[in-house]
Symmetry: C2
Subunit: 325 residues, 2 copies
């Protein structure tokens, strides 16, 4: 089917990314539409279907050219039924039957998975995974998401909660509260939000001046990028925060690797734009805490697909799905 296309959709809270992707994982065309969450999400799938039809017309293509549509969605997804179990962040109803609605509106076979899982599949297929079939992907963004791939398949978990790496308890006693109701989750430390929180707490504890303090005073706020930039420039407070984040990430990833010994652990998401300044200190702690045969074989790497990982992984879902039809 070399001339047939897959549709990859990455559904975000404010923007929905779409792409036509061939069966070799090459993006033919990509575009975005706003996500309309009004009226409990009732326009979501209609808007996607209309946008696909419109783009086909623009490109002078026909719908028969499309093999199906894959979608990554934020929140826990029941993979077999394609139902979003809990869409509270989106303001939709719980148990939203996304796959059925998408199939009805587009008249195409559909496959849905969690967005972090789609990013992991994308990196496995065309990104840093480089074809590795045993792969863990961790997305460091506003929150911390994860996808675990064993033998080429996503580990969904019995309740769809496989890969919830952001909710690994990193600080068992006295950790910060997490949105999930626990305390000390990795997400409270290694997300962009967590890094900024740690930086502000550290600044509040000290009288030291420095670049990080200056940026906070000037802008009234900080970003994770500020913290990594200032650490690179020698700011001591920023360096301390980077060390704390690296310690917890390195320890957590080493313990995941001690359990699964994957070929690769791929770090993606906005925070990963810090590149080697993120990766190198995490690697040092990883090496300290990984079992020797694991340290010698599990590789840490930066994601390479950036924002395209989601649509490519979503296309992989439907490619796999269509091969089983």
């Amino acid at each position: 089917m070399p001339d047939k296309w897959l549709v990859g959709v990455d559904l975000g809270g404010t923007t929905t990314k779409l792409a036509f992707i061939n069966t070799y994982g090459e993006i033919i065309e990509k575009w975005e539409i706003p996500t309309d969450n009004s009226e409990l999400g009732k326009y979501i799938t209609v808007n996607i279907a209309k946008s696909i039809d419109q783009k086909l017309e623009e490109l002078g293509q026909i719908k028969q050219n499309l093999l199906g549509v894959g979608m990554g969605a934020p929140g826990p997804v029941h993979y077999e039924t394609g139902v979003i179990l809990n869409a509270v962040n989106l303001g939709w109803e719980d148990n939203f039957p996304l796959k059925d609605l998408l199939e009805a509106e587009t008249s195409l076979p559909a496959a849905i998975d969690n967005d972090a899982n789609c990013a992991a599949l994308g990196e496995m297929w065309k990104g840093a995974g480089n074809g590795a079939k045993d792969l863990v992907c961790i997305t460091l963004g506003t929150g911390v998401g994860g996808g675990v791939i064993a033998g080429g398949n996503i580990v969904q978990g019995v309740n769809g909660a496989g890969g919830e790496i952001g909710h690994i308890t990193a600080i068992p006693k006295g950790g910060a509260p997490c949105n999930c109701g626990k305390t000390g989750c990795l997400e409270t430390i290694a997300s962009a939000t967590g890094i900024v929180r740690l930086a502000k707490e550290e600044l509040a504890k000290t009288n030291a001046s420095g670049e990080l303090k200056d940026r906070l005073d000037q802008n009234g706020s900080l970003t994770a990028k500020d913290v990594y930039d200032c650490a690179r420039n020698g700011d001591m407070v920023a360096a301390k925060v980077v060390d704390e984040v690296s310690f917890h990430l390195g320890l957590t990833l080493a313990n995941i690797a001690n359990t699964l010994n994957p070929a690769k652990i791929v770090l993606g998401g906005g925070v990963s734009k810090a590149g080697d300044r993120l990766l190198e200190p995490v690697k040092r702690y990883f090496d300290q805490f990984a079992f020797r045969p694991v340290r010698k074989s599990t590789e840490l790497a930066l994601a390479t697909l950036g924002n395209d990982a989601g649509v490519i992984g979503a296309a992989w879902l439907v490619k796999k799905h269509s091969e089983h039809l």
Copy 2:
């Protein structure tokens, strides 16, 4: 093939367990032979082959009745080739070609895996797993072993080190040295050896008298059973040790469950003979540290097969293998 048998072998450092098992996982006959580790292990497979032939003769059966032989071996195994990568504990040569030798001596198809993985497969097939295809098994014995099953298959890991749960770093700073070269591994806390070490350290720190102190004074040594027995009887030092072990086990298992959300986590090995006195406090910490959807779906359970898990799991290996021939 209801009238054909599988041979399950559980190779231990001092004793080798063997069993004829039908394709429904029912043990027809089980027996043991001493493990002869002399001359770098050269008699291991010959002795197993002879013992199988002898037992067949005793039972008036012929070799054509056997589908193949599966074996669990201590140490890291390269699953495809059936080579034991490192057999330093056994006194054999490294890269010992166990599968090839076993096939040559028995004239039967063979399949080899790590002993902790075989125990996990046994519990999945006929034990506490109750058929669950996503299962983590942890063996609390002299050391701490583990087996991770995803989608019915063992997660071998890229370097054969999948499931090395005993070498998860539980105490990142100031932990006790582990045989693996790291410090603070779960094995240094939750193995029988680790529990006894903690108990002795705790007794040395305190002047308190009590049953645990009395047992140590009387016998000159302690066992993990002593610690659990004394805790049940109200000994404060023993209760403190049990709480520490439970905290680290509960936290580690919760974090594994946050990553994989398996249907079950099964606790086996000698320490698990403490039964609910092991399980209940571990569950309390597990509930504290597990992500809510995981807490509601991943079940902790005690292993049910005892010493038979290894031979039954080994038989499963060769059953699966023979179905692919």
